[in-house]
Amino acid sequence: MTSPLWLGRYRSAFAVVVSAIFAAPLYLALVNVFKPADAIRAHPLALPLHDFTTSNVASAAQLSLVQHGLKTSLIITVGSLLLMVPLSAMAAYYVSRWDSKVARLLMLFFLFGLMLPPQVVLIPTTVILRHLHLMFTYWGVILNFAAYYLPFGVFVFSGFLRSVSRELDEAGAIDGASSLKVFWRIIFPLMRPATASVIVVTALWTWNDFLSPLIILGAAHGVTITTGIYLAIGTYSIDYGQEFGVMFLASLPVLALFLFLQRYFVSGLTGGATKG
């Protein structure tokens, strides 16, 4: 493939310059993690050469908001996934393998949830959770996330199921295994790439979400890492160095996950988006 002449020869140089400008905020966020607060104010863009320090990260890790937040975010993310992944996989199996009007309507019904802004349903959700005595609890947030991200799971799994041969269903059924057994022993293991994508993308969304934990968990009752950062920086006015340390600690898990599982991010976000 050829490119426009003006770009052809200098293409790499041009791309590097554009990327460097784009990456400037990332560079800023990274170098200032390892500089003392006064150096951040004086020379925000300088590399931490002679004043390299890990004290920002260490003191950020000491903050109870951060410790508590990381723990809570982990519990909520894992809990939401444990609930949402099997439920959406099973529902996807039904809507893509059962031929009826109900199944088709159910698929549309789930798909419609993909475009629902969370703010639309948040107020009534708090009322329902209050009735169930789940407001300000981990379970409340977990159920809210699991329900809200179900459509995404159903969407990705049902897209993937179209490429899974039906003969496997038949083979299992002939052997006389129960429906559930056939699904969990044969079909679900085959959907591993889709499962990986759903897990990675949903984990990212639940870990990064700010609004739901802010309301449902309630700042007075508990914090996730995102509401923890918000409170630490906004309310308790920690110093600049600590601020970058806190953000570093909050981003480390998703960045690590991203760098190792990059292909699942991309296939989950785009494959989930392009199929159907």
């Binding site: 925000p44 629902l116 802004p117 639309v120 329900a147 039906r166 960045l255 991203f258 976000l269």
Partner: protein
């Protein structure tokens, strides 16, 4: 949609069109068999029986009904009441809340702010994402690294992105200090101080975070364009902008649809940046509908009024994304 690729008055790409048309007929034939196969495949799996099938969908459906669909119905019903968290009793007030909204200047400004920011957020990351995808589509190691860099903001939390940019945008922030130190002090300004600057800054932050996502979707679409089509175009001298306009642009149409719809929804539910960076300011300039629902609902506890706003938001998002899908699907072509 066969024939859509063919545009009259464009002899530059004639041969390409012939090839394109040939592969289209193949596609139609393939499509026919694919449909037949799909129709057959639609038939029930022997693993599901009348009494076991609902068991698969049941748990998910119950959870979804309880915490997504029921809240949506309740939002509609609350919007017809004067429900307030602080008072134990609420009564039916008909369309009063909606009538209130018509004269509510804060709400009307929020609608305007949301419309402006969403329009910009639909266009900017979309256009820049396509540019980046075209720029970085070659399979070299350098470009693979650069593609990764563009995707990093996508995985960061909105809260983190907000605080990084806040450190850059404030009066004594990084942008102004860099401008000062390179002798461009004249360009220093309060990036969050005036309404236009604040809206522009929020849009810039959103663009920065989502452009990598758009680029990835476009890269996947570009990768799917058959090489013979581009080679045939090249043989015909169909290069540069003509090639983009006549071949690449029609073929990335599905990616345009996806990005546009996703950015549309993203724009309407934008919350983290406007809450953290500007808190709706200055003077309500960045107070969008999402943030306004939050303030009216959870600070003023006026659940009835906030629900009416939520219903309006939902109607706009549902209506616009349906229209966007229908309009954009029309110009999608098959290869």
């Amino acid at each position: 949609m066969p024939g859509r690729l063919v545009r009259p008055g464009n002899d530059l790409c004639l041969r390409t069109i012939v090839i394109g048309a040939a592969s289209e007929t193949a596609a139609v034939r393939r499509g026919f068999w694919a449909q037949r196969r799909a129709a057959r495949a639609r038939r029930t799996s022997p693993n599901l029986r009348r009494w076991t099938a609902p068991g698969f969908a049941g748990p998910a459906t119950v959870l979804y009904l309880a915490l997504v669909f029921l809240p949506l119905v309740l939002a509609l019903s609350y919007s017809l009441t004067n429900k307030n968290l602080l008072s134990p009793h609420s009564s039916y007030v008909g369309l009063w809340n909606y009538h209130e909204l018509l004269s509510d200047t804060v709400f009307k400004q929020a609608v305007k702010v949301t419309a402006i920011m969403t329009a910009l957020i639909v266009v900017l990351p979309n256009a820049l994402g396509l540019g980046i995808a075209l720029m970085l589509r070659a399979e070299t190691r350098l470009f693979a690294v650069l593609r990764t860099i563009f995707f990093v903001p996508v995985v960061l939390a909105g809260v983190v992105v907000s605080f990084i940019w806040q450190a850059m945008l404030t009066d004594y922030g990084v942008i102004n200090s860099v401008l000062g130190s390179v002798g461009l002090g004249a360009l220093q300004q309060g990036w969050l101080d005036t309404p236009n600057h604040a809206v522009g800054s929020i849009v810039a932050v959103a663009t920065w975070q989502y452009v990598g996502f758009c680029a990835v979707v476009y890269l996947a679409a570009l990768k799917a364009i058959p090489d013979e089509l581009l080679e045939a175009a090249q043989v015909d001298g169909c290069v540069g902008f003509a090639r983009f306009r006549r071949i690449i642009w029609p073929l990335v149409a599905p990616a345009v649809t996806i990005n546009t719809v996703l950015l549309l929804i993203t724009g309407f539910k934008l919350f983290d940046y406007v809450k953290i960076i500007t808190n709706g300011g200055p003077g309500g300039a960045t107070n969008n509908m999402a943030l306004n629902i939050y303030s009216v609902g959870f600070t003023q506890n006026a659940f009835g009024l906030a629900s009416a706003q939520a219903v309006v938001l939902f109607a706009i998002v549902a209506g616009l994304s349906t229209v966007a899908v229908l309009l954009l699907r029309r110009r999608e072509v098959e290869v």
